[in-house]
Subunit: 427 residues, 2 copies
């Protein structure tokens, strides 16, 4: 793994660079598939399902019988684990509910803010090598808590036209209202435009490969919102001599196995620890089934020695990691000082995988430096705020003359007139 | 004004259509200017300022002396009005502050969520026919309350290289940290990429013409977030026989004077009121300095008769108006039932212009149906959430075995291993 010792600040941009992605040529494919779905609906979706997933489906929608069967195929052990995760995620997201905020800003001028659920949301769950049912928990649980009326899930079928039972089990458990066997670009297109079977949704959530990522970006041109811009997953660990090198290495590798474009970084004030972690990584990676992926990701990754905790914090805030692990005798310093990160894991017994699955926090987080301006998915991601105001006769008499002046100064006479008419009647 | 009596539901999509915008050809201009700014910084910004604003500026930054002078040019009356608006906006947005949320989801598993300010934000304020200083209040006040460190404002200079004093006064009053005389596409580009003088920001807010709108959209490709997608301003009024036709007409006109692409709609259960409002509009519009604009906007606009309050509410939620005025004897029915709207104005003495300036609510709101999935600007728009978790030895023993099972079921062995290593040591 690349070791970088005491870099100068001028080198930070280079050191903190993310692996780049190339997406330009995907746009054309997405536009073409979107256009076809808009015109031909289900037929276009079925066509691309046959082309990309290699299966001709009679029915895009998962049936009640399939959901029932899935229930039988999941071990009781796995069900219990999923339920424990669900319980923790529910507790943490339910606590995020906020009350209506109400203020009388001036006598007779009452303003309030209420949150309302987004009525129709779409969740995308990738298929492929691993059935990421944990992402269903992370998305459907807050959607349900928020009160979304329609929670639509799209996930690609396998070559036999089936969906992994763990996905169906989790979807049923968490209150997904409709499940479709649709993957990739065609899934995003179907939820964006709606088809005979698939409802048009207002916001689309969930991870995906670069085709899905570009499709989600382009979907935002058509009155759909998305959870956040996507990028490869990443982890930054700050560790000093109080850390356990084997644990740190295992955390870095848990991130590295996600994909060849994952990035893992350790920042440390201890050269001794850097060397120990480097050795541990080399040893542990040998045992991993996804070693080839992890090896590639490690090529993008760095162990960075800095001179002080202050320098470390500044560098970390400049990077804005998706996941940030703190294993330090000065943990409070980092907990209080971190401003740009998605989710933070504190201490030797808080591996990133705890947050990925079961601590209760959400694992849908801003990557690629977007932690500087985006939140991870939370209860509010499934809601929007509406403001209200109600003004009495007394209230408009109080603030009306100021509104008249302000509107006049902005050259908006009709704005002024709406107030003047009322004030005249109240004289 | 177009009257539509008892339309069938099949006609709703046509009736609720927004005026369309054409933006495709602007993209190329934006891309070219962005590319130049990225390479040439200030020089490119100055070049386009000369081209579009007709003034060659020595210094893009507004000086301390200019701000001092502006203070002298504003009447005490206007200052008082601005301060009243500021006070109300501050009260309402300060009330939106939320506490840290903390939950022990399982024994020994503590999760919490904290909000942090976005460190650097950019505000765009248009120049042109009216100096929209009220938008500075709506953006800079919550930015300051949130704790943003840098609050950068760009606004175009006039032909003499000056900025309207009301804009400078409001910016200074509300805590803007730097003001630049830069307008249009070049302003968005400067804040997106940064130049020698203009800081690169993480999120850009504010209204603008179609050039600014497209520039903001394209800026999101470059690690910048924006407040929300933009569209022409719009107002929907529900009014029944308890409403005052003159007031309703004045509200509709206050929206119509914004721009020729503004849209105003009245929905009513009373044909009598529809006729009265229509007559009032014709009378009132004659007096308006911006009559030509209002006349054009009214061409896009509709008075719609429906058969019941239930039908009205369904139609209104389908439209998702930016501004929604309720003048009805059944006002509670609409207040409780509205789910898709930006800001709601209740009763005969709550004109939209109250919320535009001084009630305390924000006037930066989702248009074009985006109220279905976007919030208006509020305190949270200037913050993002970070989640934290800290797990004790006891905690990881409790949830660790479930994490191992879940990771294994997803085929992510390294995720499992990060837990297994720790559990082994704790045996």
């Amino acid at each position: 793994m690349n070791k970088i010792l005491n870099p100068s600040k001028a080198d930070w941009p280079e050191i903190l660079k993310r692996p780049t992605q190339t997406v330009a040529d995907i746009e054309q494919t997405v536009n073409q598939i979107f256009d076809e779905i808009r015109v031909k609906g289900n037929a276009a979706v079925a066509k691309y399902t046959e082309l990309f997933d290699g299966i001709k489906l009679e029915d895009l929608k998962v049936s009640e019988a399939e959901v029932q069967n899935a229930d039988k195929e999941i071990s009781e052990e796995l069900k219990s684990a999923i339920k424990l995760a669900k319980s923790n995620i529910e507790k943490f997201h339910a606590a995020q509910k906020t009350e209506k905020i109400s203020v009388e800003t001036t006598n007779g001028v009452k303003c309030w803010q209420e949150k309302k659920a987004i009525q129709k949301v779409g969740l995308y769950i990738p298929g492929g090598t691993a059935p990421l049912f944990s992402s269903i928990l992370m998305l459907a649980i807050p959607a349900r808590l928020a009160g979304c009326e329609e929670i639509v899930l799209c996930t690609p079928p396998d070559k036999n036209g089936n969906v992994n039972p763990a996905i169906l089990y989790a979807a049923e458990l968490c209150g997904v209202t409709q499940i479709f066997k649709i993957g990739g670009i065609q899934a995003i297109g179907a939820m964006t435009f709606g088809t005979e079977d698939v409802p048009q949704v207002y916001k689309i959530f969930g991870p995906g490969n670069q085709f899905v990522t570009v499709a989600k970006q382009l979907a935002t041109k058509y009155q759909v919102a998305i959870d956040m811009p996507a990028g490869p997953s990443e982890l930054l660990v700050f560790a000093d001599d109080s850390a356990n090198a084997a644990y740190v290495a295992s955390d870095l590798l848990s991130q590295a196995e996600h994909g060849i474009d994952s990035q893992v970084i350790m920042v440390s004030t201890s050269e001794k620890l850097i060397n120990a972690v480097s050795d541990e990584i080399e040893a542990q990676v040998q045992e991993l089934p996804r070693k080839a992926i992890a090896d590639k990701a490690i090529e993008n990754s760095r162990l960075i020695l800095v001179s002080s905790k202050e320098e470390a914090l500044e560098l970390i805030n400049e990077y804005g990691p998706e996941h940030f692990i703190i294993c330090s005798e000065n943990e409070d310093y980092f907990v209080q000082g971190i401003v740009n990160a998605g989710s933070v894991f504190i201490g030797n017994y808080t591996p990133e995988s705890a947050g990925d699955y079961a601590s209760g926090t959400n694992h849908t987080l801003p990557t690629n430096g977007y932690a500087k301006q985006y939140s991870g998915v939370n209860l509010d991601s499934f809601m929007k705020t509406i403001t209200f105001q109600k003004i009495t006769e007394e209230g408009i008499k109080e603030i009306g003359p100021s509104i008249e002046l302000l509107a006049e100064a902005e050259g908006l006479q009709a704005h002024k007139n709406a107030v003047s008419l009322r004030l005249k009647d109240l004289k």
